[in-house]
């Protein structure tokens, strides 16, 4: 059914309408929208085009050998430091993302919460927070809602409208996924405590939709590519439509080095190395960056020129700033009967009663709680963590822990807010280089005290829930000394109305470079409550809509 090859080849020396850097959650959506509308599109993707039949239940390759997330062995080293005055150390994928067509939408868990009206205007409602860049978005939930609905139906989402959910104009296209034992325990515990657990919205099909099959519950979602195309990645949903349009050329194995600008300051070509290592430059009328919240700011910083000395599109100095990860917490409980949380999708129930924490607590924050397997259901990771209730880490008693913990545990996880801070950044490492000779990604990150307090709150709540669930033993953790990496890469080229404190306008157009658009996790003004991909895809549909209208009016 799905087209998997480009049916068009564009010459590099003639300007295509749009060149898109990155084919992930945002890039895949924008490539599909623009090409189906009849614009000529070239997509540059540094990774390979892996498809459903390339994926395996192979933890050793994916988690330990850079199968999807590249590291220093693949020539992509990174560094990390907690603050500018702290020591910098090499860090494997501190800013973690999948290197393949579809980006991280291929290997993500599929949790697909919409943001809510409050997320877009929280700074006004709560008041500003000194020392942070906490701000309202330039758009409202109501402006984004039609595009959330487009994602629901075009990309494919399973769920059921819950008691706290924001208003929607259409129901979910697919019914909720069947409940897992870990979420039965969460649901019963939540109800006992007077909370409102309800089916988790997920970008995984519970029933056939748009020509793709239903999930077969194999359990290898988070960290893996779906082997039957039931996970609604942009690879499975959008890229085939873009390729079938006849207007989209997908070039894989292409690593972009810079966006070049003309004397008038407009972008005119994207320079890249192809899979053979040869340098090419694709001319374009407009450039769209969808390279994720780490690689997009890096590319802008690498594209500094005489006209753009601080980096392309960076007159505000906000490129690379305000990096937000989302916080997380995890509590694991041991139960007398088999839970088998390793089967089926990561999470089937969510508790959103703590979406906005009471202001009287004295700190800002909020989040959601879901039930999971403690190590994504993967045997090797699970075994490495076994003995988690205080048992030894090798020997006969370790073996007894192994026999119990993989099958007889449930984890209750918290997913929480991060505040945007000028000091949390993606920058260019001054000394370390990647395999192309480009400065490596350097991450500087320390959670705000309110973010840590929020994690503590969720850690305590999930411990209470675990007790209410009847766990025999429980253990858990949250990063109380601050996170040192994440896969949510948000806020580093934020959208806003004021060019002094944002990078793109409300339509994702660069304030500085009129034919440069930026849309991915970097566009987010606030972090949401821990599941950003749905919002990234909705923003991409909306951004593409406005690009199409502008192009048709001759305004690009």
């Amino acid at each position: 059914m799905a087209q998997q090859q480009s049916s068009v080849t564009y010459p590099t020396r003639e300007a295509v309408d749009f060149v898109i850097v990155g084919s992930g959650a945002a890039g895949g959506v924008i490539a599909k929208e623009l090409s189906v509308a009849g614009f000529s599109v070239v997509v540059l993707e540094q990774g390979p085009h892996l498809k459903a039949n390339d994926f395996k239940h192979d933890e050793w390759s994916y988690d330990y050998n850079g199968g999807l997330i590249w590291g220093s062995k693949q020539g992509h080293p990174q560094t990390f430091r907690k603050a500018a005055n702290q020591p910098t150390r090499p860090a494997e994928a501190a800013l973690g993302y999948a290197h393949n067509v579809g980006g991280s939408s291929v290997h993500f868990s599929g949790n697909f919460w919409r943001f809510r009206p409050i997320d877009f205007k929280e700074a006004s409602v709560r008041g500003s927070i000194s020392g942070t860049n906490f701000a309202d978005w330039p758009i409202t939930y109501e402006e984004l809602e039609p595009y959330y609905t487009k994602v629901d139906w075009e990309v494919g989402v399973s769920g059921l409208q819950g008691p706290w959910d924001p208003p929607r104009t259409r129901p979910y296209p697919c019914e909720p996924m069947p409940i897992k034992g870990s979420d039965v325990l969460l649901e019963r515990a939540g109800k006992k405590l007077g909370l409102n657990p309800y089916p988790a919205p997920v970008a995984i099909l519970s029933q056939p939709h748009n020509g793709r099959p239903a999930c077969i519950h194999c359990g290898f979602c988070n960290g893996f590519g779906c082997e039957v195309n039931a996970k609604s990645s942009s690879m499975a949903t959008m890229i085939p439509l873009a390729l079938a349009s006849g207007y989209c050329e997908l070039r894989t194995g292409c690593t972009v080095s810079r966006v070049s600008t003309r004397d008038d300051g407009k972008a005119d070509e994207v320079v890249y190395w192809n899979a053979e290592g040869e340098e090419h430059a694709q001319r374009a009328k407009a450039v769209v960056l969808c390279a994720n919240g780490a690689e997009t700011p890096r590319l802008l910083l690498l594209s500094a020129s005489a006209q753009h000395p601080q980096g392309l599109g960076n007159s505000s100095g906000f490129v690379g700033q305000n990096l937000m990860f989302n916080g997380y917490t995890s509590v694991v409980g041991l139960f007398p009967e088999p839970v088998n949380a390793y089967k089926s999708i990561p999470a089937t129930r969510v508790i959103h009663d703590y979406y906005e924490l009471d202001k009287t607590l004295g700190f800002y924050g909020g989040g959601g709680i879901d039930g999971r397997h403690y190590a994504r259901g993967t045997p090797l990771n699970s075994a490495l963590m076994s003995g988690m209730f205080g048992g030894p880490k090798w020997g006969a008693d370790y073996k007894r822990s192994l026999e119990q913990e993989f099958t007889h545990t449930a984890a209750f996880d918290g997913h929480t807010t991060s505040l945007p801070l000028a000091t949390n950044t993606v920058t260019l490492d001054p000394t370390l280089k990647d395999k192309w000779g480009r400065p490596a990604l350097r991450c500087t990150y320390m959670d705000h005290p309110d973010d840590l307090a929020t994690m503590k709150f969720f850690f305590d709540k999930t411990n209470e829930l675990m007790e209410a669930a009847g766990a025999i033993r429980q253990a858990g953790s949250y990063p109380e000394n601050g996170q040192e990496g994440n896969v949510h890469l948000l806020g580093t080229c934020r959208m806003g109305n004021d060019p002094a404190n944002s990078v793109v306008d409300k339509y994702h157009r660069s304030h500085d470079v009129p034919n440069l658009f930026i849309c991915d996790g970097s566009s987010l003004v606030t972090s949401g409550r821990g599941q950003p991909t749905m919002t990234i895809m909705a923003l991409a549909f909306r951004a593409a809509d406005h690009m199409i209208q502008s192009a048709r009016r001759g305004e690009i």
């Binding site: 395996k56 330990y64 099958t407 953790s477």
Partner: protein, 193 residues
């Protein structure tokens, strides 16, 4: 709660710490070529690609203490040493050196304390005592990581023979599942919640 408080520091990073403490994790090129060789080696008999027969005997003995064979099979029956052999054959020389010198240290302690040349020739109690002493070393962290990786990775990488590792933890590698997945969702469906 007390238990949670005691364990939360250690808990979440456990997987990551196991890798970080190990000198070899995150550093294997071309693991897939290694698995091709693994099949050939098995077909040819007990040949090892990179380990000497003595080294293989020692690693097998260590693996057997990390996941012992008792009423159920352990790392020995799962062929952990074959996985280790494959991984070491693709490791950097620096990493191979670190392992060789770690093993040499363990054997030096074996000789000093028990007057034997090989760790494999000690009693299980003596072996456990020596391993307990080396718990904080990079060598122990690496071998522990490799034994566990051997036990729970896909069998084509050389270990987890007959899926013995997966059987131990109750993991069934099926391509498809349907409800009920376990006791609690079965109970939930039965009660019509």
């Amino acid at each position: 709660m007390t238990n949670a408080e005691l364990n939360r520091r250690a808990f979440l990073r456990a997987g990551g710490d196991a890798m970080k403490a190990s000198c070899i994790a995150l550093s294997f090129p071309a693991v897939l070529t290694a698995c091709g060789r693994a099949r050939q080696a098995h077909l040819a008999g007990d040949d090892f690609t990179s380990l000497s027969a003595d080294e293989a005997r020692e690693y097998d003995a260590i693996a057997t203490r990390i996941i012992p064979s008792d009423d159920t099979p352990g790392a020995r029956e799962a062929g952990a040493v074959y996985f280790i052999d494959n991984v070491i054959s693709d490791a950097f020389e620096r990493q191979r050196q670190a392992l060789r010198s770690g093993l040499a240290d363990l054997q030096a302690n074996t000789a000093n304390l028990y007057g034997k040349a090989q760790f494999a020739d000690l009693s299980p109690v003596q072996q456990d005592s020596l391993l307990t002493q080396s718990e904080g070393t990079e060598f122990f962290a690496t071998i522990r990581f490799l034994v566990i990786a051997a036990m729970f990775s896909l069998p084509e990488y050389g270990g987890n023979k007959n899926k013995l590792g997966w059987q131990l933890i109750g993991f069934e590698d099926r391509h498809a599942w349907a409800q009920p997945y376990g006791f609690y969702d079965s109970d939930y469906l039965e009660k019509g919640e």
